[in-house]
Symmetry: C2
Subunit: 332 residues, 2 copies
DNA sequence: CTGTTAGCGCTTTCAA
DNA sequence: TTGAAAGCGCTAACAG
């Protein structure tokens, strides 16, 4: 049986409150401090977080509800966020929504039942109403990587439109005019698509429907099928914007199948750092997202909201994603 | 404020104990059952797991202490294990050891302080003593993917030696004699190395030191540098066994750098399914691990130990990994 | 600064 | 079957 605060009392002869106060960083007479510390060591005492939580109403646990743990980018967010949380003494309860809106709703309920202090959410749903149970329970939530239109809660995202726009501008600068885009219908996919449209429009270039390929969710299949469709056109695009890592994998697969090379046969700009291009001797030109900063900010805001009682305006943090120039664009 | 069992009492006029009994699946008079259910619905009541846990001494939380969350294979284990746990009403607390023995020890302490009911561990350390705190606290643990020599606890692994042996035998069957191996010094890396040695020995083939390249931890750098070393030899191996996914990535990178192709210039057998080879139009011959089964078994055993009081003999489950024949071996 | 006291929300005897 | 009462381990007034 683990020792309790009462054992410490028996050992030191002090009152429960004094010991509790010491445990919570209060001021205790030097002499007593030593007594308590010795007793703690001797008895190998560890506070029972459950009893503590029953009184204080918090669990020091954050729920991380992730769109899809198998997604490379989301997985990285989990990795860094959980590390930051651990550093601050919080545990991370992981709930994979597996790209399912229903599962996501269940995950949120689950978090609530487990009495998490807050939630980090990479949403699958596009409907603000998923947040309702959280709102009702008064549990703070910070959106990571994706916004929810109309949500009045904190979020940390990157400047998706602007960075997609810059990426396409780079394509245009290199002389490309027939530029395609493969994107998902998720928040990031759509934002990046808007950036593409904006860049094309500003340059006075056409964006025919056949140059746009889309699917609900990012996947290598999306890239594979999209590229296949482009290659079947009479006038395929000479360059494409790819809205994430998995999509890029799929595109490269299709190009391999067809015996095509990048950038000789097709120019590419993409999102997210890849280990892959190293394996392929292909230096992709990509938009690099500041993963660690996203997590650092997200955790910082969430814990601020959790630990400080008074609430403040929802913070919408937009971080800047930088471009890394590679060699996947042919100058024409 | 969330409603409590007392609100249910006020609503139904029943006793606390009766309501509690209902909540825990006990027999209650039909008439009362209905009353309680209506009150629960009306008040949107959810049991406070913390108060419950304070009495019952369990949290319905499992700690998942992972060697390195960024490892592709370990990440997959996390994904599936957390899904199985969720299905059984358990939450998964994720703790990334980031390949550090010290961090791993801290993670285990953290799990204990958080009063997890059990731990799923992919160990970094090779020393059984990491388990001591768990043992002392009486918290069950199941090792996943890796054994700890001398540990008398449950574990679920694959037949690493035998499958590596089969992989190398395939190389030999295709006529290769100069066969190298790149592996880590982790449990899986070493086991697979032993399988290599065994196959070579049985075939009467030499295993010169220069054909063995090793590092403490699996990484693409290990593969990259290992391959580089092999290529610098007067008589490089014509085929290699690669002990995991990341190593394979590194080897393929190096081959790209040197303008070499698989299997024309070098034959490869590897572990773990890769999306990569599809991207590269290269069908690797690989050992496929039954990831979902590993997790299903691990979770099953752990929860059995958690939920059943009486303890049983430690179970060492060894699952079979199958070979998937591709086209990465040249017949010579 | 210290100690006593009263719960937090729930389960669990135990008697009815 | 039911309900009153005790108590899980801790914190938070409050009085000293």
């Amino acid at each position: 049986m683990a020792s309790t605060i009462k054992d410490i009392r028996a050992e030191t002869g002090l009152g429960l409150a004094t010991i509790s106060k010491y445990l919570n960083g209060g001021n205790v007479r030097e002499e007593n401090r030593i007594k308590i510390e010795e007793a703690i060591k001797k008895l190998d005492y560890h506070p029972n977080e459950m009893a503590r939580g029953l009184v204080t109403k918090h669990t020091k646990t954050i729920g991380f509800v992730i769109n899809n743990i198998a997604s490379t980018f989301s997985g990285s967010l989990l990795q860094h966020a959980s590390t930051y949380l651990l550093e601050r003494g919080y545990s991370t309860m992981i709930c994979d929504s597996n790209n399912s809106v229903r599962q996501e709703a269940e995950n949120i309920r689950f978090c609530l039942e487990k009495l998490v202090d807050g939630v980090l959410l990479i949403p699958v749903s596009k409907d603000v109403s998923v947040l309702n149970p959280l709102k009702k329970a008064g549990v703070p939530v910070v959106l990571l990587d994706r916004e929810l239109p109309g949500a009045d809660c904190d979020s940390v995202v990157i400047d998706n439109r602007a960075s997609a726009e810059r990426a396409v501008e780079e394509l245009i600068r290199c002389g490309h005019k027939r530029i395609g885009v493969i994107h998902s219908e998720e928040y990031t996919g759509m934002e990046r698509f808007e950036g593409y449209r904006s860049a094309m429009q500003k340059a006075g270039l056409k964006t025919p429907k056949q140059y746009e390929y889309t699917r609900p969710v990012h996947s290598s299949e999306l890239g594979y099928d999209g590229m296949k469709a482009f290659l079947g056109l009479k006038n395929p695009p000479t360059a494409v914007l790819l809205s994430n890592y998995e999509v890029t994998l799929g595109v490269l697969m299709m190009m391999n199948d067809k015996g095509l090379y990048c950038p000789e046969d097709l120019s590419i700009v993409s999102f997210d750092e890849l280990i892959l291009p190293m394996v392929m001797k292909l230096k992709l030109t990509i938009v690099v997202q500041p993963i660690e900063e996203i997590c650092a900010e997200g955790v910082r805001i969430l814990l601020k909201r959790v630990e400080e009682k008074k609430d403040f305006q929802p913070q919408k943090v937009t971080l800047h994603a930088s471009m890394k120039i590679g060699a996947s664009i042919k100058e024409i």
